[in-house]
């Protein structure tokens, strides 16, 4: 499966054309196709699964209402990420500065009680804390690059930033996260 083409076999551009011709239900195909990535991005940006679900839902509704203005339907993915990224920024702007709560962070995957499992859990908590402490623009760049696997060109389309700026943000974020892993527990 390639980006922009889901289980239904239709490309994003074909699904968008279907929606714009009046088939509202076809938009569900796009939601299914991208909700995982969008939720992962928003959850890591906001540190809360509930807030992330709100931001992604708001972003998808907005994307539907403005679908006709998606100038290049083949690049729907970066377009909808940009909308959700802006919703995340709005959510962050309503919070006190630097407040990315981990109270509602996603549950840790497959907890186990072995030494290795405990160590992994501890490392993940440190990573989550380090990610939450990054400036939002660095967090955004890291998540898009390493969690959503975007190229710098795609990241530039999402954020509107120049590639050298994004590279610098990703580099600083990597260094902060690796430093967090090196700290003694």
């Amino acid at each position: 499966m390639t980006v922009g083409e889901g289980p239904s076999g239709s490309s994003d551009a074909e699904v968008i054309a279907q929606v714009l011709s009046g088939d509202v239900e076809a938009f569900g195909v796009l939601i299914t196709r991208y909700e995982g990535g969008l939720l992962r991005f928003a959850t890591r940006m906001l540190g809360s699964r509930d807030a992330a679900a709100d931001a992604v839902a708001e972003g998808l509704v907005r994307a539907y209402r403005h679908l006709a203005s998606c100038r290049d339907p083949a690049r729907f993915r970066t377009w909808v990420f940009r909308i959700v990224a802006n919703r995340c920024k709005s959510h962050l702007a309503r919070r006190p500065v630097g407040d990315v709560s981990l109270d509602d962070a996603p549950p840790l995957a497959a907890p186990d009680n072995t030494d290795e499992g405990v160590e992994r859990t501890d490392q993940l908590e440190r990573l989550e804390r380090a990610l939450a402490q990054l400036a939002p623009e660095k967090r955004e760049a890291f998540v898009l690059k390493h969690l959503d696997g975007m190229s710098y060109e795609e990241m530039s389309a999402v954020t509107g930033e120049r590639i050298p700026t994004l590279k610098m943000r990703v580099h600083r974020a990597r260094e902060a996260l690796l430093a967090a892993l090196r700290e003694p527990s």
Binding site: L39, V61, L178, A179
Partner: protein, 204 residues
């Protein structure tokens, strides 16, 4: 604390440098970051279809007209946040305290002013006003009120300290000298005006 890493590590992570070109230590760092990214990516997915149902539920509803949205905005409660910088908050608080502190005693009174209280009993009246040189004898200028409908009308007026002639105007047409006034003067037309002595609130 962060560390500056060799740019080769970033280039390898960005796919610009083959990883086999890295030293074993550099490769370890790259692999740790790969593992960190996988760990952060890996969390249980939300229950299937939850988000789809939520979003599709919203977009299936017909859009409200701007008028309807404005009506809903007007009729539904919503929080209003006013944020002030701390320094402005302190200034606003000081001004409020200063205003409230002065209010009960001397509401915006100058040094040689006082409060004249006009009270009259006109049980059958529909309106009562007080007139005098202080308002150019204009009946519409200073109405008295009878909020509890007991026939006793009153008004408080800030006037310069000293004697003030006055009359009551009942129902807009009947001019009556205050029967309770302690002093009267001839108005030069064969009738008498009541006189009130206004004392300065703040005496020197």
């Amino acid at each position: 604390m962060t560390h500056d890493f060799d740019p080769r590590i970033h280039r390898a992570l960005d796919g610009e440098l083959d990883r086999t070109a890295l030293t074993p230590e550099e490769r370890t760092l790259v692999e740790r970051l790969d593992a960190a990214s996988r760990a952060l990516s890996d969390f249980p997915a939300a229950p299937g279809g939850t988000l789809t149902h939520r979003v599709m539920g919203i977009i299936r509803r017909p859009l409200q007209s701007p008028v309807e949205r404005f009506r809903r905005w007007l009729t539904s409660p919503h929080p209003v946040t006013l944020s002030l910088r701390p320094v402005y908050s302190v200034i606003v608080a000081v001004l409020l305290v200063a205003l409230l502190w002065r209010a009960p005693e001397t509401p915006l009174l100058a040094k040689h002013e006082g409060v004249a209280q006009f009270v009259a009993r006109f049980p059958e009246a529909h309106s009562v006003a007080v007139v005098g040189p202080f308002n150019d004898w204009r009946p519409e200028a200073t109405p008295l009120s009878d909020d509890d409908h007991d026939g006793v009308w009153d008004a408080r007026v800030i006037l310069p300290a000293g004697p003030h002639e006055y009359m009551f105007v009942v129902d807009g047409e009947r001019w009556v000298a205050d029967p309770m006034a302690g002093k009267y003067v001839d108005d030069g037309f064969g009738r008498q005006n009541a006189v009130m002595e206004v004392r300065p609130v703040r005496s020197e």
